[in-house]
């Protein structure tokens, strides 16, 4: 037992050093594209750390959203900005001060937190009630129970945040381009590699997504992780020219983006019949939770896809 334990501890320490190292590189490298790629690698390492902490749901979310989606968003922005290097700043005394103050603040907060980590007696008391009430939630995965039952109100507001971010980024469209298709028009050669990928990968992605969605109720995964995978499939299909990019004024795409939060809010409102709010009745807990999750997955996929494509742009 003992040698295995220490080997794992060594693995953990090496992983932590790697994470910090990649974060430092990503922060210091001049080339913006490299910094972005390093951030994606960083996300993958952090996802492994989550597996080591026994948080598979978070690991999936970190890999799909933290590394994958954030990375795609950043790479897209770097490509559109057409600048890969931050301009060399003239070194003046003032700019030196502008680095020293953040550095000392960062050092102060990091060491303060480290001190607290090592000295404070930390407490986690909610795991017992989460498990004790699990039979009433209709799901077997405690994380899903928290997300869609105990603290479903957080999730309701969170899907509203995604919705607000979508409308907000549509708000950056040029006035004369309102109603055009999202992103740049894609021109893909029919026999090109992207077109081939675009035909083969989506069905596989769909199956993986459905699996993660379905597993979310019982083991790990769920609406956000599955929604991200569906969004990736959707984007791939658009890039390969299999389907057209949607436009913000289209009624169907708006319905897709809105359906999940709307159904969720509707369910929440029916709670007033029981003099409460957002009640998931025990008798219908399983089917109702699955229905909410299905609608949310659809809307999350549509919203993330639209966020990645971005506002309509003039072709260069």
């Amino acid at each position: 037992m003992a040698p295995a334990f220490s080997a794992l501890t060594l693995f953990d320490v090496v992983l932590c050093v790697l994470i910090i190292g990649v974060a430092l590189c990503s922060s210091s490298v001049r080339d913006l594209f490299a910094a972005t790629v390093l951030l994606i690698i960083y996300g993958v390492f952090v996802a492994i750390a989550w597996v080591r902490l026994g948080a598979v749901d978070v690991a999936l979310a970190e890999a799909a959203i933290g590394a994958g989606l954030t990375g795609v968003l950043l790479i897209g922005a770097v490509a559109r900005l057409k600048i890969t290097e931050s301009p060399a700043a003239a070194v003046s005394r003032w700019q030196f001060a502008a680095k020293v103050i953040p550095a000392s603040l960062g050092l102060l907060i990091a060491s303060g937190l480290a001190y607290l980590v090592l000295t404070v007696e930390w407490r986690e008391t909610l795991q017992a009630p989460v498990l004790a009430n699990l039979p009433d939630t209709g799901v077997l995965n405690p994380v899903t129970a928290v997300l869609l039952n105990y603290r479903a109100y957080d999730t309701l507001l969170e899907t509203s945040v995604l919705f607000a971010a979508l409308i907000a980024s549509w708000c950056t469209t040029h006035d004369d381009l309102w109603g055009e298709r999202a992103g740049l028009r894609q021109h893909t050669r029919r026999a090109g590699i992207l077109a081939t990928f675009g035909r083969f990968l989506p069905p596989i992605g769909l199956i993986v997504g459905i699996h993660i969605f379905w597993a979310g109720a019982d083991k790990w995964g769920g609406a956000f992780q599955a929604g991200t995978i569906f969004a990736a499939v959707w984007i791939l299909a658009i890039m390969a020219g299999v389907i057209d990019a949607p436009n913000a004024t289209g009624r169907s795409i708006r319905s897709f983006a809105v359906a999940g939060p709307m159904f969720f809010t509707f369910v929440a409102l029916t709670g007033v019949l029981a003099q409460s709010f957002l009640i998931i009745p025990v008798m219908v807990a399983k089917p109702l939770t699955l229905a909410i999750e299905a609608c949310l997955t659809l809307s999350i996929a549509a919203t993330l896809m639209l966020l990645v494509l971005g506002a309509p742009r003039r072709s260069a």
């Binding site: 404070v120 407490r123 009630p129 957080d154 409308i167």
Partner: protein
Amino acid sequence: MLLDLAAPDFPWIALSVAIPLFAALIAALSSALAPVVAMIAALLCLGAALWTAVLVTTHGAQEVAVGAWPPPLGIVLRADGLAVAMLITAGLVSIAAFAFARQAFSARTQTPETRSAYSFWPLGLCVLAGVNAAFVSNDLFNLYVALELTTIAAAALVAMSGSRAAFEAAIRYLMFALLGSLFYLLGVVLTYSTHGVLDIRLLAISAESGPSTIAAAALMSAGLMTKMALFPLHAWLPPAHSAAPAPASALLSALVVKPPFVILLRIWFEAMPELVTPTLAQAFGALGACGVLLGSILAMRQERLKLVVAYSTVAQLGYLVLVFPLAGGGGAQQPWAAGAWTGAIFLTLSHALAKGAMFLAAGAFVEARGNDRLDSLVGLAREMPISCFAFGLAAVSLMGLPPSGGFTGKYLLLTSSFASGQWWWGIVLVVGGLLSAVYLFGPLSLMFAREPALAVTPVSRARQSIALLLGLLSILLGLFSEAPYRLLQVDRPGAAAEGFT
């Protein structure tokens, strides 16, 4: 099961979040329906808030355990006097802003649909839902999500006009706000890991102040101070609030900066009252005083009306944190604490109404003259008496002249500052009032100048009177301060005896 609307435990406060959320989603589906839906939602929110006020004054604070899960497992929404007063104000200001916005952002007058006419309504409704959620939530993490919803929608409203300056202001606002969110979130993480709960009331029971609790409170406060633009973290506010279209500016200045302040109150007075040491309270007050002075001085130097009004927000927010030295710390048990606490909230409410009025009046001036430069206001009182009168009424409340709501608030703070022997905060209040008279006298004297006005595009009387209504309300808050005063005493934190009135 019958819907018993009259039952004292009917979850009205949950509706004040769910209704605007639902309306935002409908507005995103159909821009033709959006203005009507938004107006109905805001009216329903106001109605629900007023009825909750009745319930709260007769039955005491109202609670809804969401999903019927009691804390610490679930999230509790709670309406005490403070929350209800904020809900009513949010309802009033959003009704006014939506009524004023109907013309500029109506899909019916603009076919095919335009970008701004489409996006204003869902974003405005998200702001309303977000601030309402933050006013009633009693869960520290849930408050984080509510703040993020508000911030993203608010930043999009800043960028709405589509000008270069607006995009820059929005990015700058987001950079500050997101950094603030990280600090707040870090504080929430430490709180949960130390105490195992997120519910503010449960924290009040379990809080023993170890180093991690102190660090958590400091981090959350730093984040919230960034989001409420307290000196020295105020630099983002004036460009953001002045770049937005007028009805959005009204929402931003009147409402969006208020939830962080309310959460600060809840953390320091309800969750961790014993953490407020006299030194800390004085430090808070000093930041507030700096904000009052700097905001006022910068407001005097502006040449655009919306910037004057925006810098005035920086100054007015400074007054609010005087509540910490006057009602917090060792003073919490003192007879003047109740007065100071109530006074600060009266100022919050009257500032919201007055700022809403000012930005809507400024919006009318911009429509009439095409810009908001101070020199183009000359003689406008003859052409647009309603808007100028509205601006004047709001100015009376901001200066703290009787009989306005601003006067009631400042009077309560002033009496408690002298009663507690902290006369220096009284001086800040008086000097701040004088300075606000100076920076508001500039635009007012131009409006009421005898010289003839320059060319004016007419703005309908009905739309001008929206600002007038808000301005009047900020005065009426002082004239009829009895009922709101009683409302604010419901579940006022601390064991303070009835203070000076």
